[in-house]
Symmetry: C2
Subunit: 334 residues, 2 copies
DNA sequence: TTGTATGCGTTATCAG
DNA sequence: CTGATAACGCATACAA
């Protein structure tokens, strides 16, 4: 049994109120009692019970984080931003997976509610109407990272996927590529799928290039998805000179299959990724990619939530700028 | 203000005791009151307060996880194993970073203590005497993952780094490599550094190969560390035909620098990694590496901790088997 | 400067 | 089957 303030009070011969005061150094007691209480506390190995505190203070100093997964570099960077920031501000983070397709999202939010987290950060999960209801009914500040909803009252931080995709494809076009494939986006994903596809097609159209639907290989953001897409391009005998990928891992999948088939990147085919996650500079060749400031998104989102908790102010949605990081996976055609 | 069982009791015209009973369906009440209580609970949007529960039950159903970082695939896989498992068993996970060199380890453990986590999992941080004291004084079940101490009373799950390294280097020797470099291990790291170096040197010695200290490039487990090491090999004009790396990321760093210098892997130089993390099959060429069952370590460790929480049994240390995953980064010399 | 008393939301032990 | 009531560990308004 861990010691409580009662134990300290008894041993030190003071009241629990006094103990509480010196433990939280609120001042208003003389030095002697302070010394005595602190000494007893140390002797007894006292450690405050945050849960009991939370109960009376009606605040847990805890931030909940819900994300689909943590095994990709993408999420790793974000959670690091969140954890670092919350730590700096005296908050703990409690983490839960939403399941692969947000399947556990309701249970996750419920759990966060029962734990009475002070704020909530939801990363990359697409929220449907019932989930949004449940979320807002929690009555705590929250923010969405790298995702959004079609409602006004759900603040988010994300890049503009449409224009980020547009930037990437335009870069390819500027390098004289005319036959450009796209891989790894799910058209049914209205947050991060279709906007990227639309950015891709619009860039093509704006430069007088006909869109060939066969050149769009839908899929998930995974490495395997990239491999599959490239295999399809090969089977199609598609005459593409470049591929725009919906994630860095997809890009690596493309490059991996190219390698297996002795197709050289970027000599035979150019590749552009998306995310600028840690893997992008580790690939061979290093990957040219659209950067999302992942760590900063985590940090920024966490900061916003904390501010909202403390000042009870509203959180504004924010579209953050993307940036093209040019490395070595794109060849300039002549 | 969230509704409490008091509110429900008042509205439903029963006592809080009864409400509590039906909420936790403990039985011993008639159907009518159950229906009534449930209806009121739903109407009021009641959500139980886990903190209050924890207080009286003296158990938080929470597991703490401390790791140096979450941005590498290595930790991602482990935490996923932990989170999945704890979720299945009704536990929440609260996560904190220990800081780069375990610098925040004391604060982290203290935080976990104050949160009254029921069990603790510490991943990959080297624990010194004072930290061990603090850890055991928490008085809760804990386990170390991928690390250990020199004391008997600190259970762990890890692979045998020495023999894993030995296996990797022996594989290289079996493929007729005789001049083998090593990169990315820190000799001052007695857990994951020196054992791997020792495994490397012993494999060499056992096969009549002289150990050349110039061929051992110490460093961290990072990509950059691998790049630096390979640059050093090049500057040394070392006549190596293979490099054993202390992590997959180091291996990718080696391969990256090779690429920049037009050294072909595996034709000019063979590379073996360590971890079998997600990046190892995404590299070009796919990386031959020593596999640690990361997800399973997370799962297994979590299971042990939960068992210890519930049955108050001791946790046994466990050395789990490693395995060489052969892919395409090693060339068989003739 | 210090102590008393009360309550936070819940469970659990009694009686009834 | 149900209801008082006392904890749980702590903070705090109010008294002294």
């Amino acid at each position: 049994m861990a010691a409580t303030i009662k134990d300290i009070a008894r041993v030190a011969g003071v009241s629990t109120a006094t103990v509480s005061r010196v433990i939280n150094n609120l001042g208003g007691y003389n030095e002697e009692t302070e010394k005595k209480v602190m000494a007893v506390a140390k002797a007894l190995g006292y450690r405050k019970n945050e849960n009991a505190r939370s109960l009376v203070q009606k605040s847990t100093n805890t931030i909940g984080v819900i994300m689909p997964d943590v095994t990709t570099a993408f999420y790793g960077d974000i959670i690091k931003g969140i954890e670092d920031t919350s730590y700096e501000h005296g908050y703990s983070v409690i983490l839960t997976h939403a399941g692969s397709h947000g399947s556990r999202i309701h249970e996750s939010m419920n759990l966060m509610g029962e734990r009475r987290v002070d704020g909530l950060i939801i990363v990359s999960v697409e929220l449907h109407e019932t989930a949004i209801e449940a979320l807002t009914s929690l009555g705590i500040p929250f923010i969405l990272l790298s995702t959004k909803t079609n409602r006004e009252d759900t603040p988010y931080i994300k890049v503009d996927d449409y224009s980020a995709a547009y930037t990437a494809v335009k870069y390819l076009i500027d390098n004289n590529h005319r036959s450009i494939g796209m891989a790894g986006a799910n058209p049914d994903d209205s947050i991060a799928g279709s906007p990227r596809i639309n950015g891709y097609t619009q860039a093509l159209l704006d430069h007088g290039i006909k869109v060939d639907l066969n050149l769009i290989k839908p899929g998930g953001f995974s490495f395997e998805s990239g491999k599959t897409a490239m295999q399809a391009f090969i089977e199609d005998e598609a005459s593409i000179t470049a591929v725009f990928c919906a994630s860095d891992e997809v890009a690596l999948g493309i490059m991996s299959t190219c390698f297996e088939n002795e197709i050289s990147v970027p000599n035979d085919i150019s590749v552009v990724g998306y995310d600028n996650s840690k893997v992008s500079h580790m690939s061979i060749p290093p990957l040219t990619t659209v950067a999302q400031p992942l760590y900063e998104m985590g940090r920024e989102g966490c900061l916003e939530v904390i501010a909202a908790i403390q000042n009870k102010c509203k959180i504004e949605s924010k579209v953050i700028p993307h940036e093209l990081v040019v490395r070595k996976s794109v060849k300039k055609l002549t």
